[in-house]
């Protein structure tokens, strides 16, 4: 297996060589569809160069390397601002599940390779209008008949479903048992009759999220992942797959160094802002916080390198870094005065304060709202009790709506 430092150097050089063709400047002014096309080309190049499917076994078209190799590459890739956003969900969770649960291994391999090359895109149909943090409260129904399953219902917040060829989904197969026990997991063909995808615009202008409607959509029993009724457990598995994700102490917003450079040119009544105690305090506090998060990340990396399990404190990064990004972005805009008013949709959140600010609320909700992260820390790490849950142990169809 390739040594980590050698891997890192190779990745660095390869990414640098692609800057001109795929970097942020090269993509400036592109429509989303054009950008997606560039993204597909990038994914193909990445596959050819041997940086795709880093933790996926080689017999399924991956690299067969460790989570650490993946974290190292993902960190560099994010810093290089490559157009991989459309494929983030697609290549993260669905592929390991396909490999684990799909009986037709040759077909699974075809799908994995096509997804890694960016030729096909998968989406993840989990959240619903009435089921977000409380995922097990979902209402989309899967009814079993002689010829397979019929799906009816609505999903919401499905990222890039408008481009998706396939999706993994969870639906209620038995409403007469408690909510966690009546769910079953499937993959679905997004082009199948009865599937309607409706994109909608987010507050920051992004068109990434979709409503997905299922009207009598037929799904074969061979499309089921895991046992009937084991859907929630399979969904939790998907969330565990990405536990060593690349993290960013800046919360995917601009760096402290960028904030300092912005302040360097500004003044308050003729006095440089960098001399103002309030600005200095914000710089010092945010830097100290982010240095701590960075030290946690580095310690986790070292632990993984040493073959040890990283500590649970890695769970803190999103919670603390995005809040820091949100408030610092507000301050950065405010202190520019009139210059802070201009806003262009679709800016890169790590370079543009307006985009960073507008996108921060999404970050605080996606992939676990702040409140859910705090629950997880309190319950899983500190051993505090769950909240009072009146629906616990109650058959789903007996829970008052």
């Amino acid at each position: 297996m390739i040594a980590l430092d050698e891997w890192q150097e190779r990745a660095r050089q390869w990414l640098a060589s692609l800057e001109v063709e795929f970097g942020r400047d090269a993509r400036a002014g592109l429509s989303q569809d054009e950008d997606l096309a560039v993204g597909r080309r990038y994914m193909a190049a990445k596959y050819a160069a041997g940086f795709s499917g880093i933790t996926i076994p080689t017999e399924f078209g991956g690299q067969g390397l460790t989570p650490l190799h993946k974290v190292v590459f993902d960190t560099l890739e994010a810093a290089a601002a490559m157009p991989m956003g459309y494929f983030g969900v697609s290549t993260a969770m669905p592929l390991p599940l396909l490999i684990r649960y799909c009986q037709d291994k040759a077909w699974a391999r075809e799908r994995v390779v096509a997804a890694l090359k960016g030729e096909e895109i998968w989406c993840q149909l989990f959240s619903e209008p009435a089921a977000g943090s409380d995922l097990a409260g979902l209402r989309t129904r899967a009814e079993q008949g002689d010829a397979g399953w019929t799906i009816n219902g609505q999903k919401l917040w499905t990222t890039f479903a408008q481009y998706a060829d396939y999706g993994i989904m969870i639906a209620r197969s038995d409403p007469a048992v408690p909510k966690h026990k009546g769910l079953t997991f499937f993959w679905v063909d997004m082009k199948a009759p009865g599937v309607t995808v409706r994109p909608f615009r987010l507050a920051n202008g992004d068109i990434q999220c979709n409503e997905v409607f299922f009207d009598d959509v037929a799904v074969a029993d061979s499309q089921r992942f895991g046992e009937v009724g084991a859907g929630f457990r399979v969904a939790m598995e998907t969330l565990m797959i990405e536990r060593y994700a690349a993290s960013d102490a800046d919360g995917f917003g601009p760096s402290l160094a960028a904030f300092i450079e912005l302040m360097r040119g500004l003044d308050l009544g003729g006095r440089p802002l960098l001399k103002d105690g309030r600005v200095r305090s914000a710089i010092a506090r945010n830097h100290a916080l982010r240095t701590g998060l960075d030290a946690i990340r580095r310690r986790a990396m070292l632990a993984m390198e040493a073959g040890m399990e990283p500590g649970p404190e890695g769970a803190l990064n999103k919670l603390f870094s995005v809040r820091s990004r949100q408030k610092l972005s507000e301050l950065a805009l405010d202190l520019q005065g009139a210059a802070g008013l201009s806003y262009t949709e679709g800016g890169y959140t790590k370079a543009d304060w307006g985009s960073s600010w507008m996108g921060a609320p999404t970050m605080r909700q996606a992939g676990g709202a702040d409140e859910m992260l705090l629950n997880t820390i309190a319950e899983k790490i500190l051993g505090l009790p769950q909240d009072h849950r009146p629906d616990k142990g109650v058959p789903f169809n007996a829970i008052p709506a």
Partner: protein
């Protein structure tokens, strides 16, 4: 050096925790609050017996030749136990100052005694808004000190003191014996810290360094002590977080443990975040000893650890409700210690400014 601790370092943590837990005496700690000039001598004896005074002293001076990482781990446990003696920190600052001077005779004379725990040392910093500068109100001329060093931690039971004062050619880093010095005790909220004003009247002192070199050595020693204090703060903050957690698990209201209410459990989860971020900064800073970014790393540790301990003190007491504010419950020991540690090595605004200057190159 790695922020991942090796077996020996983990053993230091475990052994220190075991020893301190066995000797912790809440009743005695509470008694100390009521009297000025008394202190936790038992902790100091333990520190000497366990070799903690020798940990970070080079072997050629009778020490164990370890560094800030190991001493930091001891400090973290001392903070957890609200251990009542300030001399580990002051002693370490003195060791660093002596090692940085050109005065071989002073090193040979004092370092073995500091390592053996035969003498206790106070490191006197200017208080208020000038903590990182030489104390201009105290002069050193013709080998004698005059003026008052205010609010010196450990002063009531220290044998010697080190300070950076105003010398004949700029700053003067000096070491002096306290036997004949007029010590004016300060009745404080944390009397075990032995705070006093040192009134110096023609007090003889040894010059360790002068001018810019004196300032640089003093700043380095203060940063080292700040990293130790930050470890202590993290230990205290973590102890409070667990106290809050344990109380929230057992105390019931409205038919359930109060830890089931999000207003309570989220507050404790937030404390967990503050503690772990501060701890990561502490471990990081301890590995940056001697590097160009050490001051920056020390400031990060200091700022986040102060925030963690202060927030934990506020929130843990609040979560305990009435039980948090009784004398015998003892939580106020942490609340008091959080305050004294926040003041002793320079308050948060000073460290914010220092860090901002390091990062921006712009002075306040």
């Amino acid at each position: 050096m790695s922020v991942l601790h090796d077996e020996a370092q983990r053993a230091i943590t475990e052994e220190t925790r075991r020893v301190l837990a066995a000797r912790m005496d809440l009743k005695r700690q509470l008694e100390l609050l009521d009297s000025v000039g008394e202190w936790d001598e038992a902790f100091w004896q333990t520190a000497v017996e366990q070799g903690w005074t020798a940990l970070a002293v080079p072997e050629e001076y009778g020490g164990l030749g370890l560094g800030l990482i190991e001493l930091g781990l001891v400090a973290q446990e001392a903070g957890r136990a609200i251990a009542g003696a300030p001399f580990l920190t002051g002693g370490h600052g003195t060791v660093r100052a002596l090692l940085a001077t050109d005065d071989a005779a002073a090193r040979a004379h004092w370092l073995p005694r500091l390592a053996a725990g035969e003498i206790r040392c106070a490191f006197a910093m200017p208080q208020g808004g000038r903590a990182f500068q030489a104390d201009a109100s105290v002069t050193f001329t013709e080998g004698r000190l005059n003026g008052t060093l205010s609010g010196v931690v450990g002063a009531l039971a220290a044998d010697i003191a080190v300070s950076c004062v105003s010398g004949e050619t700029g700053s003067a880093l000096v070491l002096f014996e306290l036997a004949d010095v007029d010590r004016r005790p300060i009745a404080s909220f944390d009397n075990g810290r032995l705070f006093a004003d040192l009134v110096l009247a023609d007090t003889p002192a040894t010059l360790l360094a002068q001018g810019e070199k004196a300032d640089a050595i003093a700043m380095e020693a203060i940063a080292q002590m700040a990293v130790l204090a930050a470890h202590e703060q993290v230990g205290g903050a973590e102890a409070l977080m667990f106290a809050a957690r344990d109380y929230a698990l057992t105390r019931k209201a409205f038919g359930q443990p109060i830890g089931a209410f999000q207003s309570v459990k989220h507050r404790i989860a937030e404390l967990y975040g503050l503690v772990e971020i501060a701890r990561a900064n502490c471990f990081h800073a301890a590995t940056r000893e001697g590097e160009a970014d050490f001051l920056e790393a020390a400031a990060c540790a200091r700022l986040t650890a102060t925030e963690a301990y202060d927030t934990a003190a506020r929130d843990a007491v609040q979560i305990h409700g009435g039980a948090g504010v009784t004398w015998d419950g003892g939580l106020h020991l942490h609340m008091r210690r959080a305050r004294s540690l926040a003041i002793e090595l320079g308050h948060a605004l000073l460290w914010e400014d220092l860090l901002a200057t390091e990062l921006t190159g712009v002075m306040p």
